[in-house]
Every structure is written in structure tokens, then in C-alpha cells.
């Protein structure tokens, strides 16, 4: 310890030139004095500033606490929703074997809107055996293919033509679940 302080001896001669010492004193010497009023004003202002910051600190702490709590709750909710219940994909039916479903449904709906509402249901009983089944569609298809005289009553969908669309509508009439075959 004493060895260390020996290096900072005030009496040590560093060999500085007197002219340099004089110039340095002129530059950095304490020739200016701060008035006491200015000193107090600076200290007061600093105190006010730090008091304000000190008052604000509890609010910021509460905000941080609230944010942390909110983050925990959000994380918990995300976990809950992510793991609860079977996924939509698992319970979704595999419908790749029924590709023309939209088209089928359209024609099925067409049957409801034309035959059941606008036309007599008996018009779909082509073979007149008292029931509507696939044989009615089959026989209508045969009539159309053989280019026989097409009767107006075979225009099942009411579009003014007797063609394959009428056969489809008739076939859908045969497979409807809510009919009594």
C-alpha cells in the first residue's frame, strides 16, 4: 500500500517546463466562481426533476406488472384453445369420392324447385307403375336416345327441352331420402 502511494508524491518533480505550467493554469485554472443563487437554482431544479421521476416510478412498475399478468393470461388462453377439443380436420368427412357433389346438389335442388312445386309429381312416373324409381329415368333416357316423339310431359325441369337434364332430375327424384318409394 505504501509502495503505491509513493508514486503520487506531491513533491515529485515531473520535469514540466514552467512556461507550460503557466499556460495550463491559464486554461484550466479556477478563475470563475459560480454564484450561490445559481448553484441553489440548479440543485432545486434537479431535485424537482428527480422527485417527479420518483413519483412516476410506481405507475411504471404497476404497468409492467399488469403487462406481465396480461401476457400470462393470453398465453394461458392460447394454450387452452390450441389443445382443447378435436380438430376440425379430424372430424371432417372425407368427400373425395363424390366429386360432382355441387352439380348433383344443384340438380337435386332443381328437382325441388320445378317438379315438386311447379309440376305434378305424377309426371315423374314415366313407366306409370305407381312409383318413382331409377327405371323411370332409365326409360326416359331410352326414349331420348331412340329419338322417338318427345312428349311435353317429359320436360321435367320445365326448360322447354327434353334432354339428359330431365333424366338427371328424374333420377334424383328417385333417390331422395324424404320420399316414400
Amino acid at each position: 500500500m505504501s509502495d503505491t502511494t509513493e508514486h503520487f508524491d506531491d513533491e515529485a518533480d515531473f520535469g514540466a517546463c514552467p512556461k507550460l505550467a503557466e499556460d495550463l493554469n491559464a486554461l484550466f485554472g479556477s478563475g470563475l466562481s459560480v454564484p450561490a443563487e445559481v448553484d441553489r437554482a440548479v440543485i432545486d431544479r434537479a431535485n424537482r426533476h428527480f422527485v417527479r421521476r420518483g413519483r412516476r416510478r410506481p405507475w411504471s412498475r404497476w404497468a409492467a406488472s399488469a403487462a406481465a399478468a396480461a401476457a400470462v393470461i393470453i398465453f394461458a388462453v392460447v394454450l387452452e384453445t390450441q389443445f382443447s377439443g378435436p380438430s376440425e380436420q379430424e372430424s371432417k368427412p372425407d368427400q373425395h369420392f363424390s366429386a360432382p357433389l355441387a352439380e348433383r346438389k344443384s340438380k337435386s335442388d332443381q328437382f325441388v324447385s320445378t317438379t315438386l312445386v311447379g309440376k305434378a309429381r305424377l309426371a315423374t312416373d314415366i313407366d306409370e307403375n305407381g312409383r318413382v324409381d331409377i327405371l323411370d329415368a332409365f326409360k326416359l333416357a331410352r326414349h331420348i336416345e331412340s329419338a322417338e316423339t318427345r312428349q311435353a310431359k317429359w320436360d321435367i325441369n320445365g326448360d322447354g327441352q327434353v334432354n339428359r337434364d330431365d333424366v338427371d332430375v328424374l333420377a334424383f327424384a328417385a333417390v331422395r331420402l324424404d320420399k316414400g318409394v
Binding site: D94, L101, D133, A137, V175, L177
Partner: protein, 153 residues
């Protein structure tokens, strides 16, 4: 320090019950087992050519949904037959098809495959009824309808 401890305690109170409820796949759960099974439908028309058919299938026992319809093995009935789209997600379906071509199947032939979603371990039972079968001229013919389960067609 006190507030930090409070935050940690509050976090534990929220997280522990949530994590305790997570249904991890390796643990047994109360969810009923769901499986998919094909049902192959066959018609035997004997020596007569099969030009048209219509049948109705009803599944009994357990929760069963029809999820898809596939066509038959012969080119004449390769496309899925007509059916009500409302039958999908139902346990009952009516399927019908016809073909006016000359090349028609005879004997025993697979006319459709119906894909089912079965929930639970109950083995379902099926009610299968042939509504009508007809030959190439549209004349009704006697025929027998049967089904088989399993992946093999």
C-alpha cells in the same frame, strides 16, 4: 422483490390449472374412437345383364355417418350412382344407377362402395334392400344384393 414474487405466484395460479388440463396425445382421453370403413355392395343378376339398379342402405348401432360414395367395378357403373347429397353425414342412403350401353355386367359384380365414419367401438349392423334391378331393356329382373366390409374389394 415482493411484487416479483406476487407476479410469479399469480402466474403459477393461472398456468398450473391450464397445463393440468392439456389432453396430450400420449395419455388416454375420453374422446370416442373414430374410424373409417368401406362397405362394398354387390349385385348378382345371374345370367341377365344388369342395366339398372336401385338400393337402400341403413346403418344401425353406434354413431355412423356416410362420408363418401364410390362407383362400381364394371365400366358401365364406374361412376358413383345417383344419391341424395343429404345422405352424406347421415346413416341412410338410396343409390341408383343405369346404363343404356350394350356392355353391361352380369353375374356378381360390385356396384358401389360406401365409405362410413364409425364413432365408438360398436360394430355396426346394416340393413340393405334392393329396390329394383333391371336388364338392358329396362325390364325388372330378380337379383340378389349383398355387402362386404373391409379394405379388399
Amino acid at each position: 422483490m415482493k411484487k416479483t414474487a406476487l407476479i410469479i405466484a399469480a402466474s403459477m395460479c393461472v398456468m398450473v390449472p391450464v397445463l393440468a388440463r392439456q389432453p396430450y396425445p400420449e395419455y388416454p382421453t375420453a374422446q370416442p374412437k373414430v374410424r373409417f370403413a368401406p362397405l362394398h355392395i354387390y349385385v348378382d343378376s345371374g345370367e341377365r345383364a344388369l342395366g339398372a339398379f336401385q338400393f337402400e342402405l341403413k346403418a344401425f348401432g353406434g354413431q355412423i355417418k356416410i362420408v363418401g360414395v364410390e362407383g362400381g367395378e364394371h365400366a358401365a357403373f364406374k361412376e358413383p350412382g345417383y344419391y341424395d347429397p343429404a345422405a352424406l353425414a347421415n346413416d341412410r342412403i338410396i343409390i341408383a344407377a343405369f346404363n343404356t350401353a350394350n356392355e353391361l355386367p352380369s353375374g356378381r359384380t360390385r356396384i358401389a362402395t360406401i365409405h362410413l365414419q364409425i364413432t365408438g367401438r360398436v360394430e355396426p349392423e346394416y340393413g340393405l334392400e334392393l329396390t329394383v334391378a333391371a336388364d338392358a331393356d329396362g325390364q325388372e329382373i330378380p337379383a340378389e344384393i349383398t355387402f362386404e366390409t373391409g379394405e379388399q374389394k
